[in-house]
Symmetry: C2
Subunit: 463 residues, 2 copies
């Protein structure tokens, strides 16, 4: 299993800024209380993301649909944004070669393209690739009403009809609400292939539902292993044994440091293949915990800010700041114990003898030495960090990681006393967008917007 090393978070090792035994015990006790409450919800059929793990029928259907397209497509093109995109992106980045290093036609394994933005210049490039070979398009949206995915879908259907005529229907699969929403209506009307997003699971907790599993299955990722990792993490976490589990530890440590002014959570894998895991975590944590009001309606402005970093690269970009700048950070390092190929560093040629200290080592060794050296130099400055070690980058351990962080986030929600499953803040921006785009029913927002549009002239450069 994955390992969590938090020695660089405690007073005994990093001195003044570390957590002392008393406060650690206190916050862990609180985390346990939250977890017990979650265990009750889980037993009663609530806690959708946890209960979805045991839905074998969902897994079977997903695998079956994925098999249907085996060997027939070169690209899996996912239309989706936020939680509808990040799980698939993370899985593909972690477990597949870099897209340019893939040869889908030869290898019989498709490539993943994710349309998670509407920048037209970029989207044009993505569609150019998507239409250069046989592609399957997935539209992933619980409601189908999301402006970005919706506009892409209109664009796509138009294009598919031009290219395939009535055959457009065979190129498109939807992952959406099992019953409600405009996308479900559309699927039913045109008899499109589809899979459900379990009604109880929100976007950012959906990677282990068809939202993440269908793209993963199409890419040849081992779904059974992925689920097994998550299920083992779930079972282990809810044993409520005497020792605290890693989700409780993570939630407690993140929460406690936030209370001490460390409201920047740096997620720093020493692995390019895990760089999208940081993106996935950043959404999960930010959207779940960044809340103005507590469950009791009190203003709290909860949460802390995830920062996506990459080791060793960002040692040459961000580490100076992390070591010497404001004392507002807690770094989580992700370490791969084993890379698939260590890449030995060969002898230095004439003229480069000064580099020969590297010879005989491997890149794998160097990157992990740098991780430890970096965490130790932070510790020496009294700056806290955690290290999560992953034995090997495969579907099984990713399943563990996903579930660990989902559960830790929900526990943190309990510690902050907020609802980790809603996102009330973003509604206003959507309404402003509708209004500015002239959508019927949103005219009244125009007036509210005028105050922001009119008075700006003098606060511009050039004037």
């Amino acid at each position: 299993m994955i390992k969590l090393d938090y020695r660089f978070a405690v007073k005994e090792i990093i001195r003044k800024n570390g957590l002392g035994k008393t406060e650690m015990d206190a916050v862990l006790k609180k985390a346990r209380t939250v977890l017990k409450e979650l265990a009750k919800q889980r037993a009663a059929g609530g806690l959708g993301f946890a209960n979805a793990l045991s839905d074998r029928e969902m897994l079977r259907k997903t695998a079956e649909l994925a098999r249907h397209f085996e060997g027939r497509i070169e690209n899996v093109v996912a239309l989706g944004i936020g939680g509808s995109a990040l799980g698939a992106r993370t899985l593909a980045k972690a477990l597949l070669p870099e897209p340019l290093a893939q040869n889908p036609a030869l290898e019989k394994r498709p490539r993943l393209l994710v349309c998670d933005n509407i920048d037209p210049d970029w989207l044009k490039d993505i569609f150019k690739i998507a239409f250069s070979g046989p592609s399957l398009f997935l539209v992933i949206s619980k409601s189908g009403a999301t402006a970005e995915t919706g506009s892409q879908l209109l664009f796509l259907i138009n294009k598919l009809k031009q290219v395939y005529g009535e055959g457009w229907k065979d190129r498109l699969v939807a992952v959406t609400d099992p019953e409600k929403g405009i996308l479900r209506k559309f699927v039913n009307q045109h008899h499109l292939k589809s899979l459900p997003v379990p009604a109880q699971v929100g976007g950012r907790y959906s990677v282990l539902t068809p939202v993440g599993l269908l793209p993963a299955g199409l890419l040849g990722i081992d779904l059974e292993q992925l689920m097994r990792g998550a299920i083992e993490m779930d079972e282990m976490s809810f044993k409520l044994s005497k020792d605290f589990g890693p989700a409780e530890l993570l939630a407690a440590i993140y929460f406690q440091f936030a209370g001490k002014g460390r409201k920047i959570l740096v997620m720093m894998p020493y692995s390019n293949k895990l760089s999208d895991f940081s993106e996935w975590f950043a959404q999960l944590w930010a959207e779940s915990l960044g809340k103005k009001y507590s469950l009791a309606g009190r203003p709290v402005r909860a949460g802390s800010t995830p920062v996506r970093a990459l080791g060793a690269t960002d040692q040459h970009s961000q580490m100076q700041l992390y070591l010497e700048g404001p004392e507002d950070k807690l770094v989580t390092f992700l370490k791969l114990d084993k890379f698939s190929e260590p890449l030995a560093i060969p002898a230095a040629p004439a003229g480069l003898e000064e580099l020969s200290w590297l010879t005989g080592h491997s890149m794998a060794e160097l990157i992990n030495v740098e991780l430890f050296a970096t965490s130790a130099s932070l510790a020496r400055e009294g700056r806290p960090s955690l290290t999560i070690s992953i034995p090997k980058l495969d579907a099984y351990h990713l399943g563990q990681l996903f579930y660990l962080f989902e559960l830790a986030t929900v526990i943190a929600g309990g510690l902050w006393k907020i609802n980790p499953f809603d996102q009330p803040g973003v509604e206003l921006g959507k309404q402003y967008t509708y209004s500015l785009m002239g959508r019927k029913g949103f005219e009244e927002k125009k007036k509210e917007l005028e105050q922001f549009q009119k008075k700006g002239g003098q606060y511009c450069w050039p004037k």
Copy 2:
């Protein structure tokens, strides 16, 4: 020219959290004092990144070397990390199609691959691509002693010799110090082609020297336009006219908000093509300003933390937190006034009528409406932001942007009273790495490291 709109940073518009007229005047006055001092340094031949703009000889040599390889290579592979990689990455991402949408053999324009990490699994992919067609390898390092670039270089030379024998020398070009360092020694010994990093310009300020210009030139980017944009921004900024320039405004606003607890600087382009610009800025800002001591030696823990975001995507990931979470952020939006192709949103097919409010608009319009809607909803919550508008994404405007942020960063350094050109904090981590890798001369650090290696056992999960 680019435009800076800071209405959502002032009290008059966003109320309580905005900057009032008095404090704005005061901090701008300080910024002007700093700029006057910089103008003196610049006139005396200091301020390397500014004076390098007028080095026509450097530009001529770079363009000449780039022309030498025109039509002969499919990949430009840059070995470099931090400031040696981020400028080229930013330029390629902004001005070239997505790598998968490129066909270098057909288009006679190479693709850029950047080796800015040592993750062996990822590096293996990159080298696979690099050796699948004719490539030119650039090794970019001021000293050549950087562990990551050094180990890649050993690996590369070994591989090049296997493939090309003595011809390896024609495949490798160095950008390094004109006189000193082990890489310069190596270049001289083997008569390799090379270009200088001007001695006075540090890595993170080097994009407009051969460090960024050579890769850009090889990729067919218009170097004259790039430099012209920067030169115009430089001239305009140092006119010291009655109105404050955009670099002064940026530095003053970022600095003033940091003093009010907004120490998270979100850089959020609404353009995938500008996503690497955020990475470039994040290094520039973090490494320049994250400093423990002031110039006078007083402990200051200066700086603020750059966060890389992407619109519209991160509206579905980070915006909930930015709107409702802790009051510790200042967002900078980057807006493209014009995309190269707006992508019209077509009519909704049967069953998707509810999306027809999008029809008749374009993706370009939608993304910019979302930007304004987002900044307005932040403003309504009293949360500050700036919007920088870029007329068009081309070399000329990128030149302006690069120089604007370089100068703003150096001015901010003056406001914080720190040295924006050094990075003393990262030295210890390097020494720890040397020691752990068994490099001679670093044995003494072993002892210091023992305290971190030994006592951790009880702070691990599982125990």
